[in-house]
């Protein structure tokens, strides 16, 4: 006959192990998924930052993006941001490497330029699906786009869920180019957590009217939410320098201290 009390102790140990096993497996899967997601996001972030790398004759490059402030004494307009890229590699498509915020107001003044070497280029007035990987030759872009298709094109699936009213606003903006419409859309997408779209619509607003405070703030906040806090600070600082906007200062302080904001 077996030693039953001893056997019962062993059985308790066995049951404990049985419970531990699925927990351990579940935890391992969770960690693995987390790690894969982190690496994927890192890769995406780095690929978008690559688009801002300074020119080099043998590689795909572009000029350092700069923020230029209007210095003309006669001008009363608010500061303009010009982000210009010059593709050296012939394979790079110029269309995909140029973006601007109020390019018509910009003037070159080396003393007042702000280096935005870490900024990611934003393209206004380009269909959403095309704002993906900038600065790669077409083959490389294709490969990366294919590799991260699921991550790169979430908007496509979201598109079908967009409120018809919002679509109507978008259509109306195309027709009228009313900055209030684009600002509304920027705020709407920001509230919904679609920071990429919010940024795009803020840029669209700025392209039409560079004096709208909310548009600058939404742009900076959307950039920061996408992990480009330094960009956001630089852009908002340039706006604050010109306007002394209290609201911009408030957001700027939060960005500098890395305090969470809505």
């Amino acid at each position: 006959m077996y030693d039953i009390p001893e056997l019962e102790n062993k059985w308790r140990k066995y049951k404990r192990n049985q419970i531990k096993k699925p927990i351990f497996i579940g935890f391992s899967i969770f960690v693995l998924v987390g790690a894969v997601s982190f690496v994927g996001l890192k890769y995406l972030t780095s690929s978008s930052e690559k688009s801002n790398i300074t020119s080099n004759n043998t590689k795909v490059e572009k000029s350092t993006p700069i923020v230029k402030k209007e210095q003309s004494k006669n001008s009363t307009k608010s500061p303009a941001i010009v982000i210009t890229t010059t593709p050296v590699n012939k394979l790079a498509t110029p269309k995909n490497t140029q973006a601007s915020i109020q390019p018509n107001i910009a003037k070159t003044n080396n003393d007042d330029t702000i280096d935005l070497s870490n900024a990611t280029i934003v393209k206004p007035n380009v269909p959403d699906d095309e704002i993906r990987v900038i600065g790669f030759d077409s083959q490389e872009k294709k490969e990366i786009t294919n590799k991260y298709q699921e991550i790169l094109k979430p908007q496509k699936t979201k598109k079908s869920k967009i409120d018809p009213k919002i679509l109507a606003y978008e259509e109306r903006f195309k027709e009228r180019q009313d900055p209030q419409d684009s600002l509304f859309l920027a705020k709407y997408y920001y509230k919904k957590g679609n920071y990429q779209k919010a940024e795009t619509w803020a840029v669209n607003t700025n392209n039409i009217d560079g004096d709208i405070e909310d548009s600058w703030i939404i742009f900076a906040k959307a950039r920061a939410k996408q992990g480009h806090r330094v960009d956001a600070i630089k852009v908002l600082q340039s706006y604050y320098d010109e306007t002394n906007s209290a609201k911009a200062k408030e957001v700027l302080d939060k960005l500098r201290r890395n305090i969470p904001f809505k």
């Binding site: 006959m1 077996y2 039953i4 056997l7 062993k10 059985w11 140990k13 066995y14 049951k15 192990n17």
Partner: protein
């Protein structure tokens, strides 16, 4: 005697044809063996892992055919030549070999040639993997006479290849493999065993969940299953005597089953 003591007795590891449970796979093996008996075979190889029912199958065919065929069942291996010759003498001459007598192997071969056409003797040889190679070689020569025919039961190991290929390669008429039970077969096996002892209540309490566990830990091996069930009811008996509050009489205890699996080493803790 308590219910659990009777239930325990159902699973004693012994060859008992009264409690034999017919399963689809064992029926197929039996019929194949029975059919081969009608053919002019020299050797039949019966193989499978320990506990798959080889000995039971040999016992059963012996029981069923003993009045139609001249059958001899050697259940334990004969490990030396002298013992083997004594047994062989007894089978062929149908008398015990006199004391202080020695028989040369060639004498057996010559005797077989004399009785050829008059007698057909089938010897069922269990645990053949334990026989020395020399005896296996003598079995091969005897099978060539056409008078002595052998059914050789071996464990499915690498030795099985040695027996099959080295000694009997061209003489094996049929190879019958006995496999472990499927879940369904195991369920039938357990239920039938209990029902043969009128343990209806306990049989009904054993559910599919319990069967799945038993199959998982025993891999469908009949001997391992019997051992597990025997130990489970042994644990039942202990608690029935010392702490009856530990179990319900209306439900089969998965806990006791798991404890039994730990006790017999089917689960490592």
């Amino acid at each position: 005697m308590s219910y659990y003591e009777i239930a325990k007795e159902c699973f004693i590891d012994e060859i008992n044809l009264d409690t034999y449970v017919e399963l689809p796979s064992s029926i197929v093996a039996y019929e194949e063996l029975e059919l081969s008996f009608e053919k002019p075979f020299k050797l039949i190889l019966l193989y499978g892992e320990p506990g798959t029912g080889k000995s039971l199958l040999l016992s059963r065919i012996m029981d069923k055919k003993k009045y139609q065929k001249e059958l001899h069942y050697i259940d334990s291996p004969l490990l030396d030549e002298e013992e083997f010759f004594r047994k062989l003498f007894n089978i062929l001459i149908q008398k015990p070999m006199p004391k202080n007598t020695k028989v040369d192997f060639n004498t057996f071969v010559e005797y077989c040639k004399i009785i050829k056409g008059q007698r057909e003797i089938i010897i069922l040889l269990d645990e053949a993997q334990l026989y020395p190679k020399k005896i296996l070689e003598q079995i091969r020569i005897l099978s060539d006479t056409g008078v002595l025919r052998f059914v050789i039961a071996v464990h499915k190991t690498t030795d099985e290849d040695v027996i099959a290929k080295t000694h009997f390669q061209t003489r094996i008429w049929a190879s019958i493999e006995l496999k472990n039970a499927t879940k369904e077969e195991l369920k039938t096996y357990i239920h039938q065993k209990l029902l043969k002892f009128n343990q209806f209540e306990i049989a009904n309490q054993i559910k599919q969940k319990n069967i799945d566990f038993i199959h998982k830990v025993t891999d469908g091996n009949f001997r391992a299953c019997s051992k597990l069930m025997y130990t489970t009811f042994e644990i039942y008996q202990y608690y029935e005597k010392h702490d009856p509050s530990q179990f319900s009489r209306d439900k089969f205890s998965q806990k006791f089953l798991e404890m039994a699996a730990i006790a017999i080493g089917a689960i490592n803790v």
